[in-house]
C-alpha cells in the first residue's frame, strides 16, 4: 500500500507530464526515498497506481543503478571505480574499506548499517580517489581516514 504522503508526491510528479506512465521513474524515486529500496510489493503498488504492469515497471526499475531492487543498509557507500580514481589508488581504498567493514561490493553489514557498492565516476576526478556516503561526497580519501569517516554514521 502506498502511503498518503507517497501518493501526494507521485501525483505531483504526474501533473508535470502528459501521461501517468511518464512519471514512472519519479514515482520509483518517491517510494525509494521513503522506504530505502523497492521491494516486489512496492513495485506492484507503484505499477498499479500508474496503470502499468509490474513487469513493465520492473524493466524501468532494473535499468537504473540508483533504484535499489534489493534491500540496502541504512547508509549506502558508493566507491568510485572509474579511471582517475583507479590511477590514484582506488583498489587500495576499496580493499581497506572491505576489510574495515567485513563485506564486499553488493553486501550489507550484519548490523544493517552499511551497504557498499562500486560506482562510476563521481565527477570529482581532480580530487581522486573519491567516495560518497548517502548525500556526502568525500574527496582525496586516504585509507587511514576511513575509520573517522565511517564513525559519523550510526
Amino acid at each position: 500500500m502506498l502511503t498518503v504522503e507517497e501518493i501526494k508526491e507521485i501525483e505531483h510528479a504526474i501533473k508535470l507530464v502528459p501521461y501517468k506512465k511518464a512519471a514512472s521513474v519519479e514515482a520509483l524515486k518517491v517510494v525509494q526515498e521513503h522506504r530505502r529500496w523497492i521491494s516486489d510489493g512496492s513495485l506492484r503498488d507503484v505499477a498499479k497506481f500508474l496503470d502499468m504492469s509490474p513487469e513493465e515497471l520492473d524493466s524501468v526499475a532494473t535499468f537504473y543503478n540508483m533504484i535499489f531492487r534489493k534491500e540496502v543498509g541504512k547508509h549506502v557507500i558508493l566507491v568510485c571505480d572509474s579511471i582517475s580514481c583507479w590511477v590514484m589508488g582506488y583498489e587500495n581504498l576499496r580493499d581497506q574499506l572491505f576489510s574495515r567493514l567485513g563485506i564486499k561490493f553488493g553486501e550489507t553489514t550484519s548490523d544493517g548499517l552499511f551497504t557498499v557498492l562500486p560506482n562510476c565516476c563521481l565527477g570529482t576526478c581532480d580530487c581522486a580517489p573519491a567516495l560518497m556516503i548517502d548525500h556526502d561526497l568525500y574527496k582525496n580519501v586516504k585509507a587511514d581516514e576511513l575509520n573517522d569517516i565511517l564513525k559519523k554514521y550510526s
Binding site: P18, A22, V25, I83, M88, C121, C125, A128
Partner: protein, 420 residues
C-alpha cells in the same frame, strides 16, 4: 586573459545569489535578447562559431536552426547536466557556483527555438548543484525572469529540475529523452532527429551545460568577441581539466586551443616527482590516447581530431610511466561493458568479451592471438556497426592503446604477468 564563464565564481564555492549575479551584469543579456527575433539570436550564435561542449562539437546555432519555429506548442529545451564521462568534472563547477548563468543561457536557447518548457537533466550525484539550481530557479521566477510574460515581453518559459537515477547512457541525448519520459534510457533511431521529434514527440533541443553558459556572454559581447577569445579557429574559451598523477590536478577556463603541454606542465604543475608522462585521454574515457609526440597539439576540436583523437569534454586523464597501460584500458572497458545499455548485440556481447580478454592479459593469462581479437573488436564495434555512438567511443582508447602501448601488451603476454 578573459574568463567569462568562471571569473565571478566565489573562492568559497558558494553559488552566486541572484543579487550577486545581477551585480556583475547578470540578466542583462536577457534584456537584449527580448528585443531580438529568434532568427537573429540563431544567426548571432551561428556566427559566433560556438560548438557544443558536450563532446561532439556540433555548431550550436546550426543545431537550433533545424527546429521548426512555427511548430505547434510545446517545444522543449533541455540542459544535459548528466556529466558521467569518466575523468570529467567540468560541468559540476558551473552548476554548483553559477546556476544563474546557466538559467540565463537556457532562457536564451529556449527563446531562440521558441520553447516554452525547459528541463535541467541533472545526475543524482550532484547534490550541491541540485540545491543551487532549485534555489536559483525560485529566485529567477520571483524576479520575473522565468514564468509567464518574462519582463513584459509576452514570452513564457517554465523550468524544471529533473534528477536522474544513474546510468551513463542517460547522457546520450535520445536516451536522455526516453529517460525523461519514464522509460529505459536506450537511444532512439535517428532520423527523426530530436530537433523535429524529441521529448514526447515534440521539437526538442538538448545542449550541454558549458555550451549554454557561453550564451549570455555571446549576446552581451557579440560573435567577433567570442571568436577572438580563442587562440585558434574554434571559438571561445574552454573549461579544461587534468586528473591523474600530476602535481596540481584541477580545472581552468582558458582560451580554446592551448596546448596539451601547457595544460599538463603549467596549469597542472607537471608530473608528480619521479614520474614521466606516457599518454593522456584528451577528453574523457571515450577518446583516443594522445602520447608524447602530441604534447604540442592545440586542444581544440580541429587540431585534436587531426592528431587522431577527439577533444571530447576537454578534461584530460593522464597516464604516467609507473601505471600499467593494460590495467588502465581494462578499467575503461570494465566501465563500458557495465554501462552498455544492452540494446544492440555487438556492444552488449562484445564489450564484456573485450573486458575478459584484457583482464586475462593483465593477469598474465593472455595469448598473442588475443591482440588480434581485440583489434577485431575495435573494427566490429566501430562507427556504423552499432546503434549509437557509445560502442565506437568505447573502442577509441582501446584502439589507440594497441597502437601506442603495444610493447606493454606483448610483454604481459610473453612474461605471463603484469610487469608493473
Amino acid at each position: 586573459m578573459e574568463r567569462p564563464l568562471t571569473q565571478h565564481i566565489r573562492k568559497d564555492g558558494r553559488p552566486l545569489t541572484l543579487k550577486e549575479y545581477e551585480a556583475v551584469g547578470g540578466y542583462q543579456a536577457l534584456r537584449k535578447l527580448l528585443v531580438m527575433t529568434p532568427k537573429e539570436v540563431q544567426t548571432l550564435v551561428k556566427e559566433s562559431n560556438l560548438k557544443g561542449r558536450g563532446g561532439a562539437g556540433f555548431s550550436t546555432g546550426l543545431k537550433w536552426s533545424f527546429v521548426p519555429l512555427d511548430a505547434p506548442k510545446p517545444k522543449y529545451l533541455i540542459t544535459n547536466a548528466d556529466e558521467m564521462e569518466p575523468g570529467t568534472f567540468k560541468d559540476r563547477i558551473l552548476l554548483e557556483s553559477t546556476p544563474h548563468q546557466l538559467i540565463e543561457g537556457m532562457i536564451i536557447a529556449a527563446y531562440a527555438i521558441q520553447a516554452n518548457i525547459s528541463y535541467v537533466y541533472l545526475r543524482w550525484a550532484y547534490k550541491t548543484a541540485a540545491q543551487a539550481i532549485l534555489t536559483a530557479i525560485d529566485e529567477a521566477a520571483t524576479s520575473g525572469y522565468l514564468g509567464k510574460n518574462i519582463l513584459g515581453s509576452g514570452y513564457d518559459l517554465e523550468m524544471h529540475l529533473h534528477i536522474g537515477v544513474g546510468r551513463y547512457m542517460c547522457g546520450e541525448e535520445t536516451a536522455l529523452l526516453n529517460s525523461l519520459e519514464g522509460k529505459r534510457a536506450t537511444p532512439r533511431a535517428k532520423p527523426p532527429f530530436p530537433q523535429v521529434s524529441g521529448l514526447f514527440g515534440k521539437p526538442t533541443i538538448v545542449n550541454n551545460v558549458e555550451t549554454l553558459c557561453c550564451l549570455p556572454h555571446i549576446i552581451n559581447n557579440g560573435a567577433d568577441w567570442f571568436k577572438k577569445l580563442s587562440l585558434t579557429g574554434d571559438a571561445g574559451t574552454k573549461i579544461y581539466g587534468v586528473s591523474g598523477k600530476v602535481k596540481r590536478p584541477g580545472a581552468w577556463e582558458l582560451p580554446m586551443g592551448v596546448t596539451l603541454r601547457e595544460l599538463i606542465e603549467e596549469h597542472a604543475g607537471g608530473m608528480q616527482d619521479g614520474l614521466k608522462f606516457r599518454g593522456a585521454l584528451p577528453g574523457g574515457a571515450s577518446t583516443d590516447f594522445l602520447v608524447e609526440e602530441h604534447l604540442d597539439v592545440k586542444m581544440d576540436y580541429t587540431s585534436v581530431a587531426a592528431a587522431g583523437s577527439r577533444l571530447g569534454t576537454g578534461t584530460i586523464v593522464v597516464l604516467d610511466d609507473k601505471t600499467c597501460p593494460v590495467g588502465f584500458v581494462e578499467n575503461l572497458e570494465h566501465f563500458f561493458a557495465q554501462e552498455s545499455c544492452g540494446f544492440c548485440t555487438p556492444c552488449r556481447e562484445g564489450l564484456p568479451w573485450v573486458e575478459k580478454i584484457l583482464s586475462a592479459i593483465d593477469s598474465g593469462a593472455g595469448k598473442i592471438d588475443d591482440l588480434k581479437l581485440l583489434e577485431h573488436h575495435t573494427k566490429f564495434l566501430g562507427p556504423g556497426n552499432t546503434f549509437c555512438a557509445f560502442a565506437p567511443g568505447a573502442m577509441e582508447p582501446l584502439q589507440s592503446a594497441l597502437k601506442y602501448f603495444r610493447d606493454d601488451f606483448e610483454k604481459h603476454i610473453h612474461e605471463h604477468r603484469c610487469p608493473y
